[in-house]
């Protein structure tokens, strides 16, 4: 999912923006990229869904995954 990579890239962009050498055009470009990455990370978090499942063994040895029946 690249969540960690995205965070790392974002940190790198912030470092780059603090560098004296970067041009104004480039810094705006990098900034926009950073905003997109942060957005992407948050979307990843938002996109996760709670699911608790159990592996059931079928006779032919294939995995069958079904939701966990919660104890009453």
């Amino acid at each position: 999912m690249g969540f960690e990579e995205n965070l790392k890239k974002l940190e790198k962009i912030i470092d780059d923006l603090h560098s004296e050498k970067i041009s104004l055009e480039k810094s705006i470009e990098r900034f926009e990229e950073g905003v997109k990455l942060a957005d992407h990370c948050l979307k990843t978090l938002d996109g996760m869904r709670k699911k608790i499942e159990v592996v059931a063994k079928t006779k032919d040895g294939k995995l069958k995954i079904k939701p966990l029946e919660e104890e009453a």
């Binding site: 999912m1 969540f3 960690e4 965070l7 974002l10 940190e11 962009i13 912030i14 923006l17 603090h18 004296e20 970067i22 104004l24 810094s27 705006i28 900034f31 950073g34 905003v35 942060a38 990370c41 948050l42 990843t44 978090l45 996760m48 869904r49 709670k50 699911k51 608790i52 499942e53 159990v54 592996v55 995995l63 995954i65 966990l68």
Partner: protein
């Protein structure tokens, strides 16, 4: 007939052996004996032959393949053991020997010894090497859990996950975690997750218990399954003080199942906070960039102005130089300094010498502010 009564009964060797066998085997059906293993041989049949000895005596022993397979540890010469079994006579040699049923090391328990032996062997093979350990995913999309589907362990894990990241995806592969065949089930479950391929990390968990209870996690088949797993494995077996072979092979060892859940899943609130901070930093850096850049423009303007000024100044100095030079060349300038020029009044030719001058001649003298006409009265040579 009386002769016959006094005649000793003569037995064949086989008969005697058979009789002895009956007597001995009847008396020594269940013998427990301790001694040092020596002269151990394990030919291809899978049976093992060795002697047990103390300072004075030696007892031949046979360990049949079936009994041998039940041994948790590897037998070796010099080992002090306690053996149980029955005494029998091997007819061909007429030798009595112990048919070993159970065998355990003296002192340390059999399991303890098996543990140490397997640990040493797998360590030698490099299964515990740091270099082989995979790092855990930062944010696992799917967490595979191999454990008992009932009991405190899975409940603890789910509870911790619920607290840290309420929307986690967990797939439980239920197994027995102790008893005959449990190790194979655990190993198979790890393999199944790998075959399925969608778990990002696997937690191997079991609650606390005795060494015997935790034994499945000390079996080689589990160690091999963990080693072969392409998915990182976190082991959480028993209490903090319990170490199993699985713990050594796993990519990470957690002291408890709850700790494993914590290790595997970041806290959502912390993650969001972190991203928030990063975004704030991002804005700040952009805000920093603008004044930084305008400062740069100012600096450039200043520099340009300075450069132009310098250039202008240089030109001006040059021009001044020219002017001064011209001035110096202007004859009027000389007159202005108080000198004058004398000419013949007739031809206005400047006189450089008295030569050729005659008294009475008209001269014109040019000053800076005008001229006058005069007559030569007398000519003298320079003194």
């Amino acid at each position: 007939m009386p002769q016959r009564q006094t005649m000793p009964k003569i037995l064949t060797i086989s008969e005697l052996t058979h009789d002895l066998k009956e007597v001995l085997e009847n008396i020594f059906q269940d013998v427990w004996v301790e001694g040092e293993v020596s002269n151990l041989r394990s030919p291809g049949s899978g049976h093992s032959y060795f002697s047990l000895k103390d300072a004075q005596s030696t007892l031949r022993c046979v360990l049949f393949r079936n009994a041998g397979a039940r041994l948790k540890f590897a037998l070796s010469d010099g080992m002090q053991v306690i053996a149980s079994g029955r005494i029998g006579i091997y007819g061909r040699d007429g030798q009595y020997q112990l048919y070993v049923d159970t065998l355990q090391p003296k002192g340390a328990g059999a399991l303890q010894m098996a543990f140490e032996q397997l640990k040493a062997r797998l360590a030698q093979e490099g299964l515990f090497d740091e270099a082989r350990k995979k790092s855990l995913p930062f944010l696992p999309g799917t967490i595979g859990v191999v454990t008992s589907p009932t009991g405190a362990v899975i409940r603890d894990i789910l509870q911790v996950l619920e607290r840290r990241f309420p929307r986690a995806h967990v797939v439980i592969n239920p197994v027995r975690v102790q008893g005959e065949g449990a190790a194979e089930e655990i190993a198979r479950a790890v393999g199944e997750f790998n075959a399925w391929g969608r778990a990002d990390v696997i937690i191997l968990a079991r609650g606390g218990g005795s060494l015997e209870d935790l034994w499945s996690f000390n079996e080689e088949v589990v160690a091999r399954a963990i080693d072969a797993s392409k998915i990182p494995v976190v082991s959480a077996v028993g209490h903090e003080t319990d170490y199993t072979i699985a713990d050594f092979v796993a990519d990470k060892r957690a002291p408890t199942p709850s700790a494993a859940a914590e290790m595997v899943m970041p806290a959502e609130a912390e993650l969001r906070e972190h991203i928030d901070q990063l975004v704030k930093h991002l804005w700040r850096s952009l805000i920093d960039v603008v004044p930084q850049q305008s400062q740069r423009i100012d600096d450039l303007c200043d520099e340009m102005r300075r450069a132009l000024q310098n250039r202008f100044e240089a030109k001006r100095l040059e021009a001044d130089g020219f002017c001064r030079e011209l001035e110096a060349l202007n004859p009027l300038a000389i007159l202005r300094r108080g000198y004058s020029v004398t000419m013949r009044a007739d031809d206005a030719k400047a006189l450089r010498s008295t030569r050729g001058l005659v008294a009475g001649e008209r001269l014109k003298t040019r000053f800076a502010d005008g001229a006058c006409i005069s007559r030569v009265e007398e000519i003298t040579a320079a003194e």
